[in-house]
Structures are given as C-alpha cells and as structure tokens.
C-alpha cells in the first residue's frame, strides 16, 4: 500500500488558507527540535522568541515599526506577483527611496517648513518607482528577464548609497564615520504612540493595504492582472495588455519599497547609513507569499515576519543565539509553505492494490 498524489478536480479553497497555518506550525516545530538539539529549553526559546519581545507597549510598538516596511512592500510586490511579474528588486528600490527622500532632508537641513516632509514622501516614491522602471522598461522593450535585472539593481543601489554616505553626503562633523547628518525635526516622521518608536508610517501601511484591496477587488485592471496570473493564454485571448501589467506590477512594488525606504530613514533611523534595511526587501517576498498575495493576509504575515525579526534580536540577547537564525527560519517558513501548497491542487490517496488493478483494467 502506497500513498499516491493525485490532482484534485478543483483547487481546494480551504487548503489555500490552511496552508500558511500549517507552514507556521511546522516552522515552530522545527524551532523546538532545533532548540532541543542546541540543548536549550524549548519553552525558554519560545518565550524569548515570541513573548518577551512584545510583552510591553514599547515591544508592541517595535512590532509595528518592523511590520510597516514589510506590510507596505509585501502589498506592493503582491500586485505584480498576482500577474506573474517577478519584482525581486525591492531591496534596491527601498535604498533608492531612502536616497531620493533622504537627499531632500539633507538639502533642506535645518530649514523648518511643513513642505519638507511631504516633498520627501514624493521623492522617496519617485526614487523607488524610478529604480523599478528600469526592469519594467527593459522587460517591455527588450524582453529582458525582470527577475535578474531587478536583482542586479539591488547591488547597484546599495553601492550608490554606500558611495553617498562615504563621500558626497558624509556628515562634515561626523568624525569620518560613513553616515549622513541627522535629519532635522521637520524631516522626521511624527511618533503616533507615546513611549514607543511607532511612527506615522503605520497610517501609510494600513492605507496601502486598503488601497490594494480596492485595486485587486474593484478595479478592472486588478481583475485583468489576476486573470493573467492564473491563465496567461486566456488573458492574451481576451486582449488584456501585457505591457501595462508589467509596468503596473513593477511600479507598485517600486512605489511601496521607495516609500518604505524613505520612512525608514525619516523614522527609526533618522539619517542615511550604508545599510538602511535588514533585508526587508527580500523578507517582504516571503510576506507576500505567506499572506496569499491578499492585502489582509499580507498584513497578518507582515506582523508575523516582524515578530521573527524581533524574536531573533531577543534570542540573541537572552540566549546568545546568533541573529542569523532569523534568516534560517525565514527561508524555512517559505519552504514549508511551498510544500504545503501542494495540497491546494493535489491530494493524497491510498494507492491500494485493488485500485491498481482497476486502473490497469481501464
């Protein structure tokens, strides 16, 4: 008697929403086994990872601070992913948003004015979209693979940022450290929850989730992009314009990542540094998948991923585990999710001797 994998007559909706939960459960179980292997008490590890980072208001605020870029970028990327437009350049688009928006802050250094922050938002958005427009243009004009181009541009953007903070934009009073001046009051995001670092970005991220939901659910273009993702041939037959989808798919990710990058430097960081993101642009890809490419799902997945980041930091402090553990579990979560997704389209069947004979009779 063997287990046989066979196609379901129709994809299971229940499995589609169950699969992320299974993946999270399996990741947790692996964590327990891992900590037993490291001769750590699993309960202590669990506590250090998931409870102690968020057992006070400050910790909850940090959960939000990390979730803001993850949810925002995940939402933007998902719009492209739904139509099989693979933007994996969010890390670079984030850096470009930080450069463009941060450049405004440095230009208006010590100038008070209500116009500075809005201008930073506009430039951050434009920076991210500019960087995403390169793979979009090359894809639509020269048929160049957007995965490889957007990924290569991550390295380029981060090198440009590194050049700026080492050279052109280095703080003149900063003892030669590779960092820009600290942004003035007028170019820093307001805090929305007293006693925490939770900033105005939370409004932007939630607004983006709502906006994306309206786009996906209510707009004709959102519908076209979903059709193209599920059945490209049908979309082509219906005459949906592929080039427009590529542009919208890439620019929405670039817009989100650019704004997220601007908000990192105008919020928690407060200046330009050689590194402005602990891999948010890559983690947001996982967030988009775990959230089932659905805006509300991405909100939940973003909070979960944010907790993984915080848990990694707190496990480092409480248990002496290296912070690299976070990356291991991020990758593992996506592995389990992809494996569990098998059961959306397939199911296990006992392949008994009888059915084999019956099959042979056909």
């Amino acid at each position: 008697m063997w287990l046989k994998i066979e196609a379901r007559p129709a994809p299971s909706v229940r499995m589609k929403y169950l699969s992320p939960l299974i993946a999270v459960a399996l990741t947790l179980m692996t964590g327990v086994i891992f900590s037993a292997f490291m001769s750590l008490n699993p309960l202590n590890t669990f506590h250090a990872f998931f409870i102690s980072p968020i057992d006070d208001w400050y910790g909850l605020g940090e959960l939000g601070v990390n979730a803001i870029p993850l949810v925002l970028i995940g939402t933007g990327l998902a719009i492209g992913f739904r139509s099989n437009v693979w933007n994996i350049g969010a890390e670079g688009q984030l850096a470009m948003g930080a450069i463009f928006g941060g450049g405004v802050a440095l230009y208006f250094y010590e100038q008070e004015g209500a116009y500075v922050l809005p201008l930073m938002f506009v430039m951050g958005a434009l920076g991210g979209m500019f960087w995403a427009s390169i793979p979009a243009f090359l894809r639509t004009r020269f048929n160049t693979n957007e995965i490889l181009v957007s990924l290569m541009l991550n390295y380029v953007a981060i090198l440009i940022l590194s050049y700026l903070v080492h050279d052109l934009w280095r703080d003149p009073d900063g003892f030669n450290f590779p960092e820009s001046r600290l942004f003035s009051e007028s170019s820093t995001l307001p805090i929305v929850l007293e006693g925490t670092r939770l900033h105005f970005g939370v409004v932007i991220a939630l607004g983006a989730v709502a906006l994306a939901w309206v786009f996906v659910r209510k707009s004709f273009l959102g519908y076209q992009m979903q059709v193209a993702g599920m059945a490209n041939a049908a979309a082509l037959y219906a005459g949906f314009k592929r080039k427009r989808m590529v542009w919208v798919g890439l620019l929405s990710g670039g817009l989100a990542a650019g704004v997220a990058g601007l908000m990192e430097v105008a919020g928690p960081i407060g200046q330009l540094l050689p590194s402005v993101s602990p891999g948010y642009g890559y983690a947001a890809i996982i967030v988009a998948f775990v959230g089932r490419l659905h805006p509300f799902g991405i909100l939940l997945a973003g909070l979960l991923m944010s907790l993984l980041y915080l848990g990694g930091e707190s496990a480092q402090m409480d248990l002496g585990l290296p912070s690299a553990v976070t990356g291991v579990f991020q990758g593992m979560l996506l592995f389990y999710l992809l494996a569990a997704d098998l059961f959306i389209n397939f199911r296990m069947r006992r392949d008994t001797a009888g059915s084999r004979v019956a099959g042979a009779g056909l």
Binding site: E6, A7, W86, I88, L138, F142, N143, T144, N145, I147, L148, V149, L151, M152, L153, Y155, V156, L159, I160, S162, Y163, H166, D167, Y282, A283, I285, I286, F289, P322, A324, V325, T326, G327, V328, F329, Q330, G331, M332, L334, F335, L338, A339, D341, L342, N345, F346
Partner: protein, 307 residues
C-alpha cells in the same frame, strides 16, 4: 608590461572559475527544463560547508568534496519542493537563496577569522617553463584544471552521448520523453542535483582558493550572474566559458582602473559587473527568436503526469 597583462589574465581566470562551475551546473539543470533560481544560496552553502570542512580537517580536497555534497543537498531540497511537491520554481528558488544566505551566515559564525593555506599550483613539467603561455595555461591551481575538464565532459555529454540526448529531450518535451519510456522526474532530480553540486563547487573555489576566507554573503551576486550567463550563453557550454571569463575580466579590471589614474570612487566601480550583466542580458534577450530557438521549451514549467 607583459608582467601586468599576464597578472590580469591570471586574475581573470581565477575570478571567472567560480562562474564557470556554477553556470555549467545551472546549464545542465535548465537543459532538463527546470529553472533553479537558488544558485546564490547553493554557492553560499557550498562555500561555507567546504570552508568549515577544510578548516576542521586540514584537507582542502575534503573541503571541496563536502562543498559538492552541501550544494547538491540544497538542490535536492529544491527538487523535493518543485518536482515532488509541484511548487512554483521561481518561488522555490528564491526560498533556497534566502535560506542559503541565512543558514550559511549561521554555519560560518565560527569561521569568520580563520584562514586557510593556499593551494599550490600544478606545474606541468617542461610546458610550464614556456614563457607567458607556460604561466597562463600550464601552472594553474588544480581546480581550474578541473573546471576545464568539466567543460569538456559536459560538452561531450550533451552533444555526443545518448544520456545528453535524453536530458535535452526531457527539457524540450517531457511528454514525449515519457512516451519513449524515460523517467522524467528522476532525470530532472539528477540534473537539479548536478547543478547544486557544481554551484557548491563554485562556492568552494571562492572560499577555499580565490580569497581564501569565509565572509558572510561573499558570493556577492555571483549566483545571479551565473543565471544571467546561462541566458547569455544561449544554453551552449562553449559560450558559458566565454561569458564567465568576460565577467571575471570585468571584476578584475575594476581593480586596475584606479591604477591607471582614472579617478572614479571604488563603490561606483564595483557596480560594473552588475551593470555589465544587465547590458549583456538586454543584448541577448532583445532577439526574441534566438531565445525561443535555444531555450529548453519546457523551462520553468512544472510536470506532473496528472496535469
């Protein structure tokens, strides 16, 4: 002057060799119709495992063997996801890279300040005494010779053996291959595994010979450049070699440009290999017919008998 040029050419060979290994491996994987975007992750895992094994055992060759097992193991993980569990190949490849970056950083923590002895070049008798050519071709480190041998073996396998024909058939039309009695999934598993072992070897060359150090994320995008080189090569081994050394050259030239008195900040010079990759991709991809003609027809598409 000759001295400088020989130096640059030798450095180019060294910088190109990790790309030769990784790209030839991915070429075989893609010939079977599977697109594994996890090359960067497999290279990193190969690099760190090979480095750790060499540091612990004191034997570089043991490190090389372990790196192939480690890269191959990562590839099998990808195979289980995409071939058995029918996962999307793009998503699974990304997962492999993210997992590889995190896991290699974790494994490598204890090895960041370890150094390894240099591998001695093999001096071929008499031949290595020929001026210029002797140094360029006949006194190289053994892994470079291995990369030449791999190129020869893969070219021969793909175009001169029945196995190569079957592999290409699986990549062009899995349905036809099945009807001829070939086991598509098993062949794809083998091709994916081979790609991973070669990526691991490429990583090992970086960590054991080229630097020889372990540094977090030391591949710096070479896995992705390898993927671009497969497209550049239009899936032909000989053009893989051209592409890999071209990129080795670009990496090396950036170190020498400043020496020639050109005043460009080092960070901006470091963008050259990435910008060159994009340029090369654009030049190749703009001709859609070449790509259609040469790319394995089932590349990236899942295969399941029920579908």
């Amino acid at each position: 002057m000759t001295e400088t040029i020989v130096g640059i050419l030798l450095a180019t060979l060294g910088a190109g060799t990790p790309l030769v290994f990784a790209t030839l491996g991915e070429l075989i994987t893609e010939k079977s119709g599977v697109l594994n975007l996890g090359v960067e992750g497999m290279m990193l895992i190969g690099a760190v495992c090979g480095f750790a094994a060499a540091a612990e055992s004191g034997s570089l060759w043991f490190g090389v063997v372990i790196s192939m097992f480690a890269g191959g193991g990562m590839a099998l993980l990808f195979g289980i996801l995409t071939l058995t569990f029918q996962a999307n190949q793009v998503a699974a490849g990304l997962a492999l890279t993210i997992f590889g970056i995190g896991t290699s950083a974790y494994i490598g923590l204890d090895y960041t300040s370890v150094t390894l002895p240099n591998i001695d070049p093999i001096q071929l008798p008499f031949l290595s005494d020929i001026p210029v050519i002797g140094r360029l071709l006949f006194s190289l480190d053994p892994l470079i010779y291995l990369s030449f041998a791999m190129f020869g073996a893969i070219s021969w396998f793909l175009y001169r053996t029945k196995g190569g024909l079957v592999l290409r058939a699986v990549g062009e039309s899995p349905e036809s291959a099945v009807s001829l009695g070939h086991h598509v999934i098993a062949i794809r598993y083998l091709a994916v595994w081979f790609g991973g072992a070669m990526a691991g070897l490429g990583g090992a060359y970086l960590a054991l010979v080229y630097t020889p150090l372990w540094v977090e994320e030391m591949t710096a995008g070479r896995g992705w450049i390898a993927l671009a080189l497969v497209v550049f090569s239009t899936w032909r081994p000989s053009r893989v070699m051209v592409g890999a050394y071209l990129f080795g050259g670009v990496t090396i030239v950036q170190f020498h440009i400043q020496g020639f008195g050109v005043d460009i900040p080092s960070q901006l010079l470091s963008t050259l290999p990435y910008l060159a990759t994009i340029l090369v991709l654009v030049l190749i991809s703009r001709d859609i017919h070449t790509i259609r003609l040469n790319a394995p027809a089932s590349l990236g598409k899942p295969y399941h008998p029920d579908l």
